[in-house]
Amino acid sequence: MAWTLFSLILPLLILFAWLYVTGEALVPALLLPKPRIVLNEFIVQLTVGTIIEDISISFGRIVKGFGLAVLFGGGLGIIMGMFVPAERFFSLTFTSIRQIPMMAWVPLLVMWFGIGEASKVAVILMAAYFPILMNTSSGIRRTDPKLIEVGRMYRLTPWRMFVKIYLPSALPSIFVGLKLGLSISWMAVVGAEMIAASSGIGFRLNDARALMQFPIVFCGMFAIAIAGVLMDWVLTLISRAAAPWERKR
């Protein structure tokens, strides 16, 4: 509780600075609207419903793209973690592809998949794929050889070896990958929607900017931050539930 209050100090300071700067009219109201105005706009947006709708459209894309990334990235990550030849085979290619910033993929993916849903999902998949893959594979590979010896001693089948030893051992690392992948794909989808989309929170932001509706731009940014924090929080809860033994340490 004390720590929760402590971590609220900085946001409150920022809010006060914002109130002060706009109250004294130190910056043009057009560039930085007053908190009151943004708050009013937020309430309007919530009641009229466009922001919720925009966020849920973007979130729907995340679910699809992130789900695919978990499936493919996690799957291949496990294989690369357990079999050294697979790791060697893919390593150079993947390390090279990873150097390309995800936003640089957007033009190509739009060319391939068009401006609709598929290209957004593809951007998210690209963004989340590598963090999930790399963290899964390194987590599996870092499994304590001493515990693997225990598994061999009890002659566990490959499947039980995976379920009882490799997977739980890699779980913390896998969740690091999932969290990283989720936050990157949230950034990626907003970015992609700003560049090429006709719906979603990124589109709304860009649209409001073009129409000079700056309070809406601010609301949109807050909404993105809040949604991002909420998603991260849900993943944290899931990771705790998935690893009950961690709490006993």
Partner: protein, 266 residues
């Protein structure tokens, strides 16, 4: 005359001309074990002592089937071993419990396709044996070092192996816990009549527990001496005979007076 009897007659462990070397980082062959010959009878307790790094753990791992030998064979009752088997259980210096499994799940790790009830019964039985009843649902992180090592012993015993391989199992425990565990091992041995092969760096522990103590040379490890401990049970750590055996083994670690056996025997 059931299965039990047959299992207990699995036969002696025979190690013949066993050699093993490792490749070091700079591509040099490091000879760790050289021409080891040893036989261990059914139900016998053999302790292995030697300098750190002389290959004791490697020897146990080869017997366990976790490492392959370069030359020579290990057989039980004439059957040459090629990998881990249900006839051998291993207890390591570190407890090596899986942190994500409860104690019950750890103890029943060696069983596949058991019902909940069967697993509960097995874990209940062996946790009682090592005085850990009530901890079945706990995670390893909730146990002390001594309790964890007990749980590891329960796990090894649960599959009812004919031979237990113990690699400095009490090395990390405090003196009192250690003595308690040694007594526990004697009790378990009496009940299970299993063969035990224990690596230890504690000569007192070796003399207290073993029928025979194998002394190994520094790397490459060879069998330097085998000392038969002829002391009545229960053994008295304070007796003069006990001290004599300790000294008898200890001289091997100080090369200059290797052949000298202390004179104060009674």
């Amino acid at each position: 005359m059931g299965k039990e009897k047959v299992k207990r007659m699995a036969g002696e462990l025979l190690i013949e001309h066993l050699s093993k070397s490792f490749m070091t980082a700079d591509k040099q062959a490091l000879s760790v074990l050289e021409d080891i010959n040893l036989s261990v009878e059914n139900g016998e307790f053999v302790a292995i002592v030697g300098h750190s790094g002389c290959g004791k753990s490697t020897l146990l791992k080869i017997i366990a089937g976790l490492e392959d030998a370069d030359a020579g064979t290990v057989s039980i009752g004439g059957r040459i071993l090629t990998g881990p088997g249900p006839d051998r259980g291993m207890i390591f210096q570190e407890h090596r419990l899986l942190p994500w499994l409860t104690i019950e799940q750890n103890v029943t790790l060696g069983f596949e396709g058991n019902t909940r009830k069967e697993n509960f019964e097995i874990s209940d039985r062996y946790l009682k044996l090592v005085k850990l009843e009530g901890f079945a649902k706990a995670y390893p992180a909730e146990l002390s070092g001594g309790m964890s090592q007990r749980a590891a012993i329960a796990r090894a015993l649960a599959t009812d192996p004919q031979m237990l391989l113990l690699d400095e199992p009490f090395g990390a425990l405090d003196a009192l816990t250690k003595i308690e565990m040694q007594k526990e091992i004697i009790k378990i041995r009496r009940e299970n009549r299993s063969t035990m092969l224990m690596v230890t760096h504690d000569i007192e522990e070796a003399v207290y527990l073993a029928d025979r103590v194998v002394v190994m040379t520094s790397r490459p490890g060879k069998v330097k001496d085998i000392v038969k401990i002829e002391l009545a049970e229960p053994r008295n750590r304070g007796s003069a005979d006990f001290a004599w055996y300790k000294q008898r083994i200890l001289v091997h670690f100080f090369d200059d007076d290797e052949e000298k056996i202390p004179e104060f025997t009674i």
